[in-house]
């Protein structure tokens, strides 16, 4: 596998920002009740992360190290404002629901993390690919979570009715847990479980082991 291909594809399954690095969980919880706004959010984040990586990488040799984080945040924040304005100008209906989360991309750890960890050391093209790969890795998880949540919670996909809800005169009683954000934890957890049973090298070493309870052997010893 060539290097650029590796940089692009690795973050999708092998080094997924959400499933392996456990970054950017917040927006994965918040926007995933419906597929369409989720998709918009994924596009917004991917655009921001690609461009921020690209810009940071282009000026990386000029950035003074003591203010590098401020420089990165300024670039990311400016891009986020532009994306937010574009969303408001072309999809007002959805910007009402996800606007606040788009603004919060600034604080998404993945974007800042890639700028600091990758773009500061690598050339513009590779940085752009790295941003794209991480954006896709993030999108993969969000789309999986949103599909499950929208289907079980509202019986629809992209707003099209698939299971007719009881409140609309059908038979399916929507799962209210799937509508609440905490259900994303469950789905992300299950996703990580599946991913790590497939790619066993991602399983982390336990940080410590519980010592065996050896009370019995001691007692046996005193008796002897």
């Amino acid at each position: 596998m060539s290097k650029s291909r590796e940089i692009l594809l690795n973050p999708i399954f092998n080094d997924n920002p959400i499933a392996l690095q456990i970054l950017g969980i917040c927006s994965a919880l918040a926007v995933t009740t419906n597929l369409y706004p989720t998709l918009l959010m994924c596009i917004a984040l991917t655009a921001v992360i690609c461009l921020s990586n690209l810009v940071v990488s282009v000026i990386r040799n000029q950035i003074p190290t003591n203010v590098r984080m401020i420089v990165q945040i300024t670039i990311i924040a400016s891009l986020v404002v532009v994306v937010d304005e574009l969303l408001k100008a072309y999809d007002y209906e959805n910007s009402k629901t996800i606007g606040v989360f788009v603004a919060l991309i600034v604080t998404n750890c993945i974007v800042m993390g890639r700028a600091e960890a990758f773009a500061m050391q690598n050339g513009p093209w590779l940085s752009f690919l790295d941003g794209l790969g991480n954006g896709l890795g993030y999108s993969l998880i969000l789309i999986v979570v949103a599909t499950i949540r929208e289907f079980l919670g509202a019986g629809t996909l992209f707003g099209y009715e698939i299971l007719v809800l009881t409140q609309n005169g059908g038979w399916y009683l929507g799962n209210n847990y799937m509508v609440l954000s905490s259900s994303s934890f469950l789905i992300i957890g299950l996703f990580i479980w599946l991913l790590r049973s497939w790619k066993t090298e991602q399983i982390e070493e336990p940080e410590y082991r519980v010592a065996r309870n050896n009370l019995e052997t001691k007692e046996a010893g005193t008796r002897v």
Partner: protein, 269 residues
């Protein structure tokens, strides 16, 4: 020391970055402003039309909305306020909310009457009237009030008897998707049509109840099903309607309008 870490270089990078970023942001904001304003206005107009059941696919929103008459009402006197031009009245925020901050154009609400947690109520409201052959068919009143997470903004459309509801439509709210946000559910919204606001004695009876409306109940024409799992939002909707249809809301205006319509009818007979 790194050659970039000098004071001059740091200042240079900082200032030029800020300049470039601010130019990009301001050009995005200015360049897209008209388009944003247009979409926002269109969204509100479509909600106004749909609350009165006038939204159809055959005609464009602009075309449909041109049939709607806009008037500014003084809530304290119940009269039309013709000194304020309804076209430019909208100002900056939703439905002249800015007027509610200015002590000259608003009143402070005491906590016992402030059932919708508005704090202040503006004295001027823009309302929308739909007429057919010079006869009022629908009156659309903007309403707002606290739900669970924030203020719900919407439009209540009533018939010319000033008692029968045509529809209730929200254009901005922060309620939980799937629970409180079901105020946007078409099936729930369709229940409002034909409900009555006032009892025969003039008391405000309309409310969102807890659970489902009993079809046998004599009160059913004043009741709408509660939103399951969203008690606070349901109560917020009830409170908002009681407030805006009450003495501090549109009651004075509606009473005056009722007299006007009755006078006109008696002349026609």
């Amino acid at each position: 020391m790194n050659k970039n870490d000098t004071l001059v270089k740091t200042l240079f990078v900082g200032i030029s970055l800020c300049l470039v970023c601010s130019v990009i942001i301001s050009s995005a904001a200015v360049g897209l402003r008209d388009q944003q304003k247009y979409l926002k206005q269109k969204d509100q107009q479509s909600k106004i039309l749909s609350s009165a059941g006038l939204l159809t696919n055959q005609k464009s929103i602009e075309e449909l909305f041109s049939a709607i008459e806009e008037r500014v009402v003084n809530l304290d006197t119940g009269e039309y306020e013709d000194s304020l031009d309804p076209k430019s009245f909208d100002g900056k925020k939703f439905e002249a909310e800015d007027y509610s901050r200015d002590p000259l154009t608003s009143i402070k609400l005491a906590t016992d009457v402030d059932i919708s947690s508005l704090k202040r109520r503006e004295s001027f409201k823009k309302i929308y009237i739909y007429k057919e052959e010079n006869e009022i068919k629908a009156i659309i009143l903007p309403v707002r009030g606290l739900g669970l997470w924030g203020t719900l903004y919407g439009y209540l459309a009533i018939e010319s008897d000033l008692n029968t509801i045509i529809g209730l439509e929200y254009f901005s709210h922060k309620e939980t998707p799937g629970l409180g946000a079901e105020v946007d559910n078409p099936r729930w919204k369709s229940q409002w049509k034909g409900k009555n606001i006032y009892s025969s004695t003039g008391e405000i009876k309309i409310e969102v109840i807890k659970g489902l409306v009993d079809p046998e109940s004599p009160e059913k024409k004043y009741q709408v099903d509660g939103l399951s799992g969203a008690t606070i939002t349901s109560r917020g909707v009830s409170n908002m309607l009681s407030f805006w249809l009450g003495e501090l809301g549109y009651a004075k205006f509606l009473n005056r309008l009722k007299e006007e319509i009755e006078r006109k009818e008696s002349l026609n007979v």
